[in-house]
Subunit: 208 residues, 2 copies
Amino acid sequence: MTPVTVLLVDDHVVVRAGLRALLDSQPDIEVIAEAGTGEEAVDAVSTCRPQLVTMDLALGAGIDGVEAIRRIRQVDRALPVLVFTTYDTDADVVRAIDAGAIGYLLKDSTPQEIFAAVRGAAAGQSVLSPPVASRLLQQIQRPEEALTPREAELLTLLAKGMTNKELGKALFISEATVKTHLAHIYAKLGVDTRAAAVSVALRRQGIR
Amino acid sequence: MTPVTVLLVDDHVVVRAGLRALLDSQPDIEVIAEAGTGEEAVDAVSTCRPQLVTMDLALGAGIDGVEAIRRIRQVDRALPVLVFTTYDTDADVVRAIDAGAIGYLLKDSTPQEIFAAVRGAAAGQSVLSPPVASRLLQQIQRPEEALTPREAELLTLLAKGMTNKELGKALFISEATVKTHLAHIYAKLGVDTRAAAVSVALRRQGIR
DNA sequence: CGGCAGATCATCCGAACGGTGGATCCGCGA
DNA sequence: TCGCGGATCCACCGTTCGGATGATCTGCCG
């Protein structure tokens, strides 16, 4: 039988080299291309026609991993994309799955887990790292903690240290509305000050 | 001539495999051992006697990279340790250099930079990734931005979302003193709200 | 010894914030 | 069609915060 052909996408040469070394050690898996940016990845999908893509979410320059997934799936909706990244923040996982990723693997996975994930994803099965899976379950089990898009938007700006007045101008809403959103955010996050909310926000949604 | 013998320390199998693949492609460099935790690394230094150690700072379980560097240098003060990590937060760089690292390399470095760094470090030369170097220079050129220990302490607690009153009780000082410290912190960080200060604090000192 | 930096405390005041309790509008699904 | 959740808005009120300013005490370095 022919091996599964894989395209690696990661901006770190070292990670690409490592994944290639690991995957090529398996007779039924073959890395046929690498890409260091999202743009390269989209091109490589067209030219190399891999059967599976592994995708880092943080890609340094250019479009990010989520956007790359989206574009790849515009080119080939059947092509499974397996996210392979370091962090499993709530927002990242949801955004990646939303963009069409078939699985979400953490970089500290064991080789066995990685092989199984690649084979599973190539066969069309969803694969999630255990920590990611439990996170998602939590998210589902506690929907009351899920911020609305507008609240998340506000929280992001809040994390920049903006005042209510500035938030209002930035979002084209009144200061009163800002305060209403903030009150909702505080309730959902279990805090009662903007400083604490910023703290939670930066931990949750990763760093910027 | 005999190649430089290297011990790789990183909790990610993929990264170890990648570095090994890269370094072993060079005739004058030879990876002789790998370690996934700080404790393993210290043991491996004794048993394998490498001429150079590459060290990730985030090691998952057990002691962290900085502590590992410290212990390795207790075993062999002449053994150069090259930090090889993803992030270059101010605090990390300073702590690693302080612990005795001879260089600080970022994981998104090119293979050429990595080879040069390994050869340089093995020869006893200090090597810093350009972004890291510029950061350190900034730190030195703007000592006025350096927070006093007390201010840093306060900032850490502030990042937990505490109010002035709570900060005062936690640090056994009056609320007035808290405000004085905060004013100094704001001036040094170039912000004027506690939320913005928290934001800066979390970026600077890494997370947690 | 004299000064300087750090830590401590104080007071005052206007601005910003957080809590409470409303209100309207819209779209979506039961 | 009738809710319900999301987004928007408003007013009131007490608390907190940030800025300005000045003061004392300590330890250290020249």
